[in-house]
Each structure stands twice: as structure tokens, then as C-alpha cells.
């Protein structure tokens, strides 16, 4: 059985090619990802979903040369879009049950 880890520590994240501590602090400061635990920066722990959005944010920041405020807005809209698409699929599905005989 494989080790399934639900969280990622700051130290582990800093080993990722595209991330370093300063970038992670920026991402957290702009509310793009929130640590699930850890009072001090060095103790921060993130869930896997946050890591996904964090990497996306850093890519957008470096590749598109957009500032962090704009990145935060884009990520917020992308997340909202993903949630709305999920809700929409759900309602469409449920509506079909009510309309079809």
C-alpha cells in the first residue's frame, strides 16, 4: 500500500523546482492559498488542493508576468469557475431526474 499524505509541509514545497519560500509567502499573503496548520512560516502545512492552486499561481506570475494582485484575482475566478461548473453539472443532472419520466 502506498503512503497517502494529505498535507505538504513548507520544507517539502521548497524542493519543488518552481517554488521557494519567498514565493510561497507571497502566495499566502495574497490569500491564494492558506496553510491548514502551522503558526510560523517554517511550520506551515498545506493540503494537496492548495498546492495545485499555488503552483498555478506561480506559473501565471512568472509566465505571464502579471503582478500578485492580478494573479490572486485570476486564481479566485478560476476557483469560482471550477466550483460553478461543478454546481452546474449537479443541477443539470438533478433537473433531468425531475423532467424526464
Amino acid at each position: 500500500m502506498t503512503e497517502l499524505v494529505l498535507s505538504v509541509s513548507l520544507h517539502e514545497l521548497c524542493q519543488y523546482d518552481e517554488l521557494d519560500e519567498q514565493l510561497i509567502v507571497e502566495v499566502v499573503d495574497h490569500g491564494i492559498a492558506q496553510p491548514v496548520a502551522g503558526r510560523n512560516t517554517v511550520d506551515w502545512v498545506f493540503d494537496a488542493t492548495s498546492v495545485h492552486w499555488m503552483k498555478k499561481a506561480v506559473r501565471l506570475h512568472t509566465d505571464l508576468e502579471i503582478d500578485w494582485v492580478a494573479v490572486a484575482m485570476v486564481i479566485d475566478l478560476l476557483r469560482r469557475n471550477e466550483a460553478l461548473e461543478r454546481r452546474n453539472r449537479h443541477f443539470e443532472h438533478q433537473l433531468k431526474r425531475f423532467l424526464d419520466q
Binding site: 500500500m1 502506498t2 503512503e3 499524505v5 494529505l6 505538504v8 523546482d17 494537496a48 495545485h52 438533478q94
Partner: protein, 312 residues
């Protein structure tokens, strides 16, 4: 090796100024960035655009590229850098540059291969992370069994990069939700040198169920009722994810009403969500003279205007 016309890739004239190059890059990068554009081929296109910009945004590199373009750009067919070519604006330069992206052979042949900064080259390079979609059936989220995951991943064997098929048994964590991502440590691409392996991220997709809809940790089951069942009440058997249970429908039940069946929903971290029975009144598909007569007498007897709200 194919000569790449970076000006053409960015859609600018060879004498375009820095500002025009930057604008063209930003426009194309926004359009093709894989995080903004999920279309197939967008990522390839983005890489091409990013490479062109990397070459042209720096005055030194651009001058070198222009020189080569004059030398080899018109030749058509294959391109080789001139013998003894050495870039001064690439990695060997004073700045000790490090290119993050993965660029084409053409780019690397001009500006030098992707080098590592000290941090990576001393300790090896961490393997790539992989993310795969993992469809899960609702039944699997409440069972104790583990799920087999199969995926392809690049690994390095005898110094050669190749793709291998891997399979893993994964225990689905209780309370996992649609769209959530879970991490399997060290199951991504293998590292270079002493670098650790990357991780595998599973993007959870709950497969739509023929009977149940998911609302957070709760399930919704649409229950069709005959008009008289809704009027008189009845006892019915309803399916759950793990078996069947009996459900009492109260007299005068209404379409759209939700009945809560505690603890028969999806797993949460601490227990189980609820199952909601959503009532739906269904007319019989056909009538005969006898049932028509009964409806007729009901319509005369019942004092009910379903559109009473309209008259206000």
C-alpha cells in the same frame, strides 16, 4: 534541426522594438497558457511562444539570434550553429543565467542547454510531479477496499529518460470530495542524481451515479410517487449506497419535499453524511375510462386551485 523564426512565432516584424515584442508575447501567452486554456495543443503553442520571448527579450541574446538568423535562417531545411559557435548571452555569460523552461534543441544549441543553478546541480534534481484524474464510484467512497490506479510516468533508467507504466493500490481517504486533490508522496517522476522523486497528485472525480446525486457529504435520491401515494401516504423501500431501507411517506406529501435519512450519505472524516429523499409526483402514463371517472369525481370534490398565487 529546424531553424525557428522567433519573430514569426510572436507575429512581429524583425525590427520590432522591445515593447512590441513584450506586448505580442503577453497577448499570445495569455491566449495559450495551459492554466488558462485547457485545449489540446495550447501547451505546445505556449512553450513555443515562451521560448521565442526568452530569446528575444534580452538584447544580447536577440543580437546573437539575429546574427544566426542572417547566417542560417534562409538556408531552409536543416540548421546547424556555425562551427565553434559559443553564446556569450547564454549560460556562459557573466550573469550565470539559468533558464527555467524546457526549451527546444534549437534554443539549447544556440544558448546552451538548460543548466541548473547550484542548488539543483549539487544535490540532483527533484523528479516531476504528475497529476492524473481519478474517477471514483460513490460505492467506493464508503467501502474499505483500495483502488488500483494505473498511470504513465517518465523515469530515468541507465541515464535514459523513458516512460513506464506504474500501478498503485490506493486507499480512498474517507470524506473525499469531488474536485479534491490527494497526494501520493514519491510516486511521480524519478529525480536526477540524488534528487528525490516527484509526487503523484490524484484529482478526484466522483462518477455520476444513476440514482444518487451528491451535495457535499449528503446524497440526494429522487423518489417518484403516484399522486395517490403522495395524498394518502405509503411505505416504500428505497435503495441506499450500501443496501435498502424502508421509508414512510406521510399523507399529503408534496413534490419537491425532502425527507432526511440520517447517516446514509457519503463518508465524512468523522462519520457519515445524510441521504435525502426528494419527492417527485408522477402521473400514470395512461388512463382508462374508470380512472378518468375517478379523477373527474375528485376534481369536483376537491377545492384546490394550484394557480391561486397568480390571481394576486
Amino acid at each position: 534541426m529546424e531553424f525557428k523564426d522567433y519573430y514569426q512565432i510572436l507575429g512581429v516584424q524583425p525590427d520590432a522594438d522591445d515593447k512590441a515584442i513584450k506586448t505580442a508575447y503577453r497577448k499570445l501567452a495569455r491566449k495559450y497558457h495551459p492554466d488558462m486554456n485547457p485545449d489540446e495543443g495550447a501547451e505546445e503553442k505556449f512553450k513555443e511562444v515562451a521560448e521565442a520571448y526568452e530569446a528575444l527579450k534580452d538584447a544580447g541574446r536577440r543580437a546573437e539570434y539575429d546574427e544566426l538568423r542572417r547566417y542560417g535562417g534562409r538556408a531552409g531545411g536543416g540548421f546547424e550553429p556555425p562551427p565553434g559557435w559559443q553564446s556569450s548571452a547564454g549560460f556562459g555569460g557573466a550573469g550565470g543565467q539559468h533558464f527555467e523552461g524546457d526549451f527546444s534543441d534549437f534554443f539549447n544549441s544556440i544558448f546552451g542547454g538548460p543548466g541548473g543553478d547550484g542548488h539543483h546541480s549539487r544535490s540532483g534534481r527533484r523528479g516531476q510531479d504528475a497529476e492524473i484524474e481519478m474517477p471514483i464510484f460513490l460505492e467506493e467512497t464508503v467501502s474499505e477496499t483500495s483502488k488500483l490506479v494505473e498511470y504513465r510516468i517518465p523515469v530515468i533508467e541507465n541515464g535514459q529518460m523513458k516512460e513506464v507504466k506504474k500501478s498503485l493500490k490506493v486507499k480512498i481517504p474517507p470524506g473525499v470530495q469531488d474536485g479534491e486533490r490527494i497526494r501520493l508522496k514519491g510516486q511521480g517522476g524519478s529525480g536526477m542524481g540524488e534528487g528525490p522523486s516527484g509526487d503523484l497528485y490524484l484529482h478526484i472525480r466522483l462518477v455520476p451515479h444513476p440514482l444518487f446525486d451528491v451535495e457535499g457529504h449528503n446524497l440526494v435520491l429522487t423518489v417518484p410517487l403516484a399522486p395517490w401515494e403522495a395524498a394518502l401516504g405509503t411505505k416504500i423501500t428505497v435503495p441506499t449506497l450500501t443496501g435498502k431501507i424502508n421509508l414512510t411517506i406521510a399523507p399529503n406529501s408534496q413534490a419537491g419535499q425532502r425527507l432526511r435519512i440520517k447517516g446514509k450519505g457519503l463518508s465524512t472524516k468523522t462519520g457519515r453524511g445524510d441521504l435525502f429523499a426528494l419527492l417527485k409526483v408522477v402521473m400514470p402514463p395512461s388512463t382508462n375510462s374508470k380512472t378518468t371517472a375517478l379523477w373527474q369525481s375528485l376534481s369536483e370534490e376537491a377545492d384546490f386551485d394550484p394557480r391561486a398565487q397568480w390571481s394576486n
